[in-house]
């Protein structure tokens, strides 16, 4: 999933304080799972904003709504009939949702309510960790299913650097060394001969480094 974190209240207040009618718009997918921008968080943020502005003696209308997804035109259309009634939207979707909402409502200012962080997993309750950077050419087959792009601090492809010690990365004791994980797993799978092979030099043209990316599936096009 895409993992996001709530933005500090002060930042959101700063974004919206000049408006009168605001829609706080959540998303039912990833940001609901990581508890940053689902229906529950929409409710909490909307009440907090109401309270803040009320204390300031300001009468503002702050409505709540949560869409199935904000990255799909179909669901974004659901607010078409009410959109005109708002001066601004605070979207609690990931950066994708914020942008797509803005693209669909060109005259409506849309502000981000979360910081979008990475693609990752729920490792434990209240803890999410990164797993993939969407490099566009997955090499997990040769690394025992553990991604050195997303999980090695130096994005190394041929084994650990000199900083790996006791299975931890040189950036800190809280970070496991991705290459330690890869080696452990290849060993467990009896595939250490794969570790001995030198990886081909990575082609980054499919990564974000090659510019914004696009996939077109002719077979699905209407």
């Amino acid at each position: 999933m895409i993992v996001a974190e709530k933005k500090p209240m002060e930042e959101i207040i700063e974004e919206v304080k000049r408006f009168e009618n605001i829609l706080v718009l959540g998303c039912n997918e990833c940001v609901t799972v990581c508890e940053a921008g689902g229906k529950k968080e929409v409710g909490v943020l909307a009440s907090a904003l109401r309270m803040f502005f009320l204390k300031q003696g300001r009468k503002m209308r702050i409505d709540e709504r949560t869409l199935e997804r904000q990255c799909d035109p179909e669901y974004l259309e659901e607010i078409r009939d009410v959109a005109d009634g708002y001066d601004a939207v605070v979207s609690l979707a990931c950066g994708v949702g914020v942008q797509f909402t803005a693209e669909h409502y060109p005259n409506l200012p849309v502000y981000p309510g979360v910081d979008t962080c990475f693609m990752g997993v729920t490792e434990a309750r209240g803890m999410w960790t990164e797993r993939c950077q969407g490099c566009g050419r997955c090499i997990l087959a040769s690394t025992g299913g553990i991604c050195p792009v997303a999980r090695c601090a130096k994005r190394l492809f041929n084994g650990p650097c000199g900083g790996s010690s006791d299975g931890k990365c040189e950036i800190g004791k809280d970070t496991v060394c991705a290459w330690q994980l890869i080696i452990d797993r290849l060993r467990a799978l009896g595939r250490m001969e794969e570790y001995e092979r030198i990886a081909p030099i990575k082609d980054w043209s499919t990564d974000r480094a090659g510019g914004p990316r696009k996939i077109v599936r002719e077979d699905l096009a209407p």
Binding site: I201, K202, D203, W204, S205, D207, A209, G210, G211
Partner: protein, 292 residues
């Protein structure tokens, strides 16, 4: 030894003549230095590009150091594409310590333009941030705020889009103002063949705050003029030029004549100088500069 003819002439208000000198793809620098030595004295400084069009070759700093070691002044390009802030600052310190006193900041083209399509570009900092970083170094600190043992007193410039077709003069003028605020003291434009294309931008900026140095491109053939007119978005080649080349008895001589006239025009119009770009025809620099 720090060479500063370029800066001195800019400060005095005399017209500067720069020539582009691309380092080799390889380690043999004899051709590059040969061309440069031939016009030493006619050119105030050589601008050494940093892998233009994302084609891998000797770095600008390396090429510039080779030229400086032979007593020729250089302006070295620093580019956001290939180096992060650590490497950029490190190279800037090296450049100054090796006698290079002028730098030109550029954004750089995406690797997909060049010959290493699989490369990962860096863009840790952008052009404005790079200019700010150079100003910080000039003030004796690095980007982390740590004090330097000796600060580089660079004259700093940047590339601008002024005069390129399809660029809004308002936006470009704002962009130039931002770069001046960040510390840029000279601007190098894309290739210009006339003053008209840049005039709307110039009207909107304070000419006394910055030196504008147009690039004068030596055309090589009618085909090149036509190709550029059709396919190169940031260069405006007037139709009249192609017509002129079409009827010229000796097209190469006509190309040289056009470059000479363009330089004279910019001098007459009060520009601070020109950058002559010969794109592989560096043996023609002397001929173009003859008598201008």
């Amino acid at each position: 030894m720090h060479l500063m003819q370029f800066r001195k002439k800019l400060e005095e208000g005399s017209f500067v003549v720069l020539a582009e000198m691309e380092p080799p793809k390889g380690v043999d620098t004899t051709v590059m230095t040969g061309h440069a030595v031939k016009v030493k004295g006619k050119v105030d400084a050589f601008l050494v590009p940093e892998m233009s069009n994302a084609v891998m070759r000797m770095s600008a700093l390396g090429g510039a150091m080779v030229l400086q070691s032979k007593g020729m002044e250089t302006i070295v390009q620093v580019c956001c594409r290939d180096r992060n802030r650590i490497a950029l600052q490190a190279d800037l310190l090296a450049a100054y310590a090796c006698g290079i006193t002028s730098v030109m900041a550029v954004t750089g083209q995406e690797p997909s333009y060049g010959d290493h399509h699989q490369a990962r570009s860096v863009y840790d900092i952008d052009l404005l941030e790079l200019l700010t970083a150079v100003s910080t170094l000039r003030n004796g600190r690095d980007m982390a705020g740590v004090e330097l043992l000796g600060a580089p007193d660079f004259l700093m410039g940047a590339s601008v889009n002024a005069g390129a077709p399809g660029i809004s003069p308002e936006v470009e003028a704002d962009d130039m103002k931002k770069k001046i605020d960040a510390g840029a003291r000279f601007f190098i434009t894309p290739p210009l063949f006339s003053v008209e294309t840049i005039a709307p931008v110039l009207k909107r900026i304070d000419r006394s705050a910055v030196h504008i140095i147009p690039t004068v491109l030596l055309l090589k053939s009618l085909g090149m003029a036509r190709y550029m007119a059709r396919n190169v978005a940031h260069i405006h080649v007037p139709d009249a030029l192609a017509e002129r080349l079409e009827t010229a008895p000796d097209r190469v001589r006509e190309c040289v004549k056009i470059a000479k006239e363009t330089i004279s025009t910019f001098r007459a119009e009060g520009f601070s100088g020109v950058l002559l770009s010969t794109m592989g025809w560096e043996h023609k620099i002397a001929e173009v500069l003859e008598g201008v």
